[in-house]
């Protein structure tokens, strides 16, 4: 029996008519499983959806949006659900309908000649890789790790740990997108025919610029139901070779084509210069500066192991003085390529005063990073210790890191305690061979205490203020407060608002995200 008032029951019945009883829920217990995640401040997790729906195809999604327009209720969507902040029901809205895309989990096509795959929203990166690797192809993995949706990641940040080489944003090819009106919009080469996925650029202006960006549209302009995604050459084995049982399992990729080095530099400036020159040389599969906690958190398998490692002399020195960069060399073309790149790397490490870690630590880092940058990454590991607060989240040029990193540390220290002191935890990841760079500090606090939650909200506001002050994009949080940010960035909020109003005049697609139309009332 549907719950709620007459309108709720009406919407419920209509959703059942579209999808079938099995795929519509309004039960409080079922709904409770869709509100929180690892990084959202508690204040952003207060809302609850009223309906959870499981469409099975593009036509189902279209029907849901047409219904939503008719009865004027909000609809949002998730990928595999890691970033609930982006799609949680807002407590001021009623009848919120949440799309869980689990039934749309097909790899429709893998074209190994043209190096792309066509996928639905619930295909994970691990699943896609398992198919692609057999064909000598690869799809990168973001920090969210391989159980995250490949489609969602590509229409969100499109950042992978191998984006140093494979780029940001340019791996998205043809897109099938259900607009808030319920119409289907196909982009790129799909303009020619519905089965022509291979190219992201189509005739005329490229609509991908509307649907994606540093956070993408987060479902506020409809739901992407299928994409073609570029794949890259994989110089590794068809399956990941493993030995043993988790969490003591080992997976060692062949060292002839995969190496990881972790030089430490004497200053942030030196590490930035090193990365810049690596970019000019156009070598390496990934180049990522991490804080010492990241390294130790990942390659250790338990609290006890973490603390034993964290307290040793090497890492104690790193915390105070070191700036460590993880560099992955991939012999994409050949083993000779890797050997060449290693020579260049060693020369640059020396040039900028870098020092490699002791052999035992180097091996632990390499054995873990080699495989985990391919088929794992880190979100589930660094949230092991407690509630994570992200500060920084700045995206700007590589050299801006020197400014933003220093300010991020000051900001973080202002909130310590309740954040735990962790040393210079700045991490930054540069993409497209040293062009755009994302910075971040992940700090730990106790899980879900009132104080920890308060910090999350306050830091967020301060982050946004910093971004405005310095004219740089604070990526994760600005998507929620574009009406605050926009006036300082050429009134971009009004542009977003106009696009939103054109495509979603009833403001039913994930309202308040990207642009809060209620806050913009009268301005658009």
């Amino acid at each position: 029996m549907p719950r709620g008032d007459k309108k709720h029951q009406l919407i419920f019945d209509e959703l059942v008519n579209i999808l079938g009883e099995r795929y519509v829920e309004d039960d409080p217990a079922v709904i409770e499983a869709y509100y929180r995640d690892a990084i959202s401040p508690a204040g952003l997790c207060e809302g609850r959806h009223e309906f959870i729906v499981l469409p099975g195809c593009t036509e189902d999604v279209q029907a849901i949006f047409r219904l939503a327009n008719r009865y004027e209720f909000p609809v949002s969507v998730t990928g595999t659900g890691l970033f609930q902040l982006s799609c949680n029901a807002h407590k001021e809205y009623q009848y919120w309908c949440f799309i869980d895309p689990k039934r749309m989990d097909k790899i429709e096509k893998l074209d190994d000649d043209n190096m792309y795959a066509v996928i639905g929203p619930y295909v994970t990166i691990g699943q896609l890789q398992s198919v692609a690797m057999k064909k000598g192809l690869f799809h990168g993995v973001p920090g969210a790790s391989c159980q995250a949706s490949a489609l969602a990641g590509n229409v969100f940040q499109n950042i992978h740990w191998t984006s140093w080489r494979t780029g940001v944003g340019r791996n998205l090819l043809g897109v099938e997108w259900v607009l808030p009106s319920g119409e289907v919009f196909r982009t790129g080469s799909l303009a020619m025919d519905n089965n022509n996925w291979f190219w992201g650029e189509g005739p005329g202006p490229d609509a991908r610029g509307i649907l994606r960006g540093h956070t993408g549209h987060l479902g506020s302009l409809g739901v992407v139901t299928k994409i073609a995604v570029k794949l890259h050459t994989w110089p590794g084995p068809a399956v990941i070779p493993t030995k043993g049982v988790q969490p003591e399992k080992k997976a060692l990729l062949p060292q002839e084509t995969f190496r990881t080095f972790a030089p430490t530099f004497p200053s942030i400036e030196a590490s930035v210069d090193f990365i810049a020159e690596m970019g000019k040389e156009e070598i390496a599969g990934y180049v990522m500066k991490f804080g010492p906690w990241d390294f130790v958190c990942w390659f250790t398998s338990s609290f006890e192991e973490f603390w034993n490692e964290w307290d040793n002399e090497y890492w104690t020195n790193q915390k105070a003085n070191g700036h460590m960069v993880a560099v992955g060399l991939w012999g994409v073309a050949s083993e000779e390529q890797l050997k060449y790149e290693e020579k260049v790397l060693m020369h640059l490490i020396k040039k900028y005063g870098g020092v490699l870690p002791p052999a035992d630590i180097a091996k632990r880092i390499e054995d873990h990073f080699n495989v985990s940058t391919v088929r794992d990454t880190h979100r589930h590991r660094f949230t092991r210790l407690g509630k994570v607060h992200l500060s920084g989240n700045n995206t700007d040029s590589l050299y801006d890191v020197i400014r933003s990193g220093a300010e991020d540390r000051i900001l973080k220290d202002e909130f310590t305690p309740p954040l735990h002191p962790m040393g210079p935890q700045l991490k930054f990841w540069s993409y497209d061979f040293g062009r755009t760079t994302w910075t971040e500090i992940d700090s730990i606090a106790e899980r879900y205490t009132e104080e920890s939650d308060r910090v999350g909200g306050e830091m967020m506001q301060r982050e946004v203020g910093h971004g405005i002050q310095h004219g740089s994009v604070n990526s994760l949080y600005t998507c929620l407060v574009t009406h605050v940010y926009g006036p300082h960035f050429c009134n971009v909020h009004q542009l977003f608002g106009k696009i939103k109003h054109t495509l979603d005049p009833k403001n039913i697609a994930n309202p308040t995200r990207i642009v809060d139309m209620r806050a913009l009332e009268g301005q658009v």
Partner: protein, 417 residues
């Protein structure tokens, strides 16, 4: 540099010490969704990449470990009650077959005990009277007839009719073979019990059985949250064994193995029969003389595998994975092909945790998925070491007409001797 100077990360219990605390475990869920999938390194085929049968069947996150974390947290914080007229909380919690797949996946990167937490929550709910009506027939069967098979206690010993073996109600023996409820009452699997006893006797083991006086091991009651019932069987079995002079308990059922090895006090030596046979093969005391030309795949029963692990953070999630494989590899003619999900990341058969009894459709679907995976390997037979698994698979094969046999490992061992 003084190691203990904690300038960075000053000491705080929650950061430095893993201790089993339900609230901490619940709040530490980061929604990474590892619990829905097998070990990411091991994904070889998208079709066979999921580890959690309940969310794979239901789709909604509530039916995953992550979803159950959210719901249990709401319950603990007083935001949700297990009133079935108000919500599906009990259904969500009991549609888990307690396979431990999520537990293994979560332990890749966390100090946690997911399955232990779920079982403790069930026990709390039962204690409070928040029980699932669908479990009542099974509870009645246990209470009235001391078995989980809805059968009459007096028929329990029928599997051993004609078997010349010590009756431990009247004699003593060093070893008891505990048949378990399923082997005792499922005629299709009687030969597994018979073969087990005959093999032990052939090997010169001083073995006896309790026949119709045997009672349940208590695992199902434990997994469903009925700890009082479980305790009754634990005490009864331990007393009976002591009185019969038993030092060693051998079983061919993985549920029974789990109870005796992990739940019962450490008073007796416990073996699953595959461990015993493997040991004797390696000692040269068993030699296979016949060839069985067959391609098989092996299914890891959850209670024999990851559920039988003793948790130590950061250490391998061990189970009896290798002995059955080593046995199969040593039988002449047998070719072993692995499925996509094995060992600590194996897909469940669907029979555990009270799921089969309360939600038979889900249980059957889960078994059907495993049969599909087995068939995809090209194997002629799926082999296991648990009658619950084998029965669920037999039913799935019959329902789907799958071109594969279901065998217990003992059947192959017996054939090859």
């Amino acid at each position: 540099m003084e190691k203990t100077e904690r300038k960075y990360f000053p000491r705080a219990d929650f950061l430095h010490k893993y201790y089993y605390d339900i609230e901490s475990i619940l709040k530490n869920c980061s929604r990474c969704s590892n619990c829905k999938w097998i070990d990411q390194w091991e994904i070889k085929e998208p079709r066979f990449s999921k580890v959690c049968p309940s969310v794979a069947y239901s789709y909604f996150d509530a039916y995953s470990s992550q979803g159950r974390h959210d719901i249990i947290l709401a319950w603990l914080e007083g935001r949700m009650s297990p009133d079935m007229s108000e919500n599906k909380m009990l259904e969500v919690l009991y549609t888990c077959d307690t396979c431990g797949g999520c537990d293994a996946s979560c332990k890749r990167s966390r100090d946690t005990e997911v399955i232990r937490m779920f079982l403790d929550v069930r026990a709390k709910l039962v204690e409070a009277g928040d029980v699932l009506p669908e479990h009542m027939p099974l509870l009645e069967s246990l209470r009235n007839e001391d078995n989980t098979m809805f059968a009459l206690k007096k028929d329990r010993g029928n599997w051993a009719s004609g078997l010349k073996v010590k009756d431990l109600t009247e004699e003593k023996a060093a070893v008891v073979f505990h048949a378990g409820c399923h082997i005792s009452f499922n005629e299709e699997l009687w030969d597994v019990g018979q073969k087990a006893v005959k093999l032990l006797q052939k090997l010169g083991v001083d073995v006896g059985i309790f026949g119709k006086n045997e009672t349940c091991c208590g695992t199902k009651a434990w997994d469903m949250g009925y700890r009082g019932e479980y305790k009754k069987y634990q005490e009864n079995n331990a007393d009976a064994w002591s009185n019969a002079g038993v030092k060693t308990v051998i079983t061919a059922c993985s549920d029974c193995y789990y109870a005796f090895k992990r739940l019962y006090p450490e008073q007796f030596e416990v073996y699953h029969i595959v461990e015993y046979i493997d040991k004797l093969i390696k000692e040269g005391k068993i030699q296979f003389t016949k060839t069985i030309p067959m391609t098989v795949t092996y299914h890891d029963p959850c209670h024999l595998g990851r559920r039988s692990n003793v948790y130590e953070p950061g250490k391998a999630i061990m189970g009896v994975y290798d002995p059955p494989r080593d046995i199969l590899k040593s039988i002449p003619g047998i070719k072993l092909i692995e499925m996509y999900r094995i060992k600590e990341y194996a897909w469940c058969c669907g029979a555990g945790g009270g799921l089969r009894e309360a939600y038979p459709e889900r249980s059957a679907w889960t078994a059907g998925e495993r049969i599909t995976e087995a068939v995809s390997t090209g194997a002629e037979a799926i082999v296991s070491a648990c009658p619950w698994c084998e029965n669920n698979f037999n039913e799935a094969v019959r329902a789907n007409g799958a071109p594969i046999k279901v065998l217990d490992i003992l059947q192959l061992v017996d054939q090859a001797l």
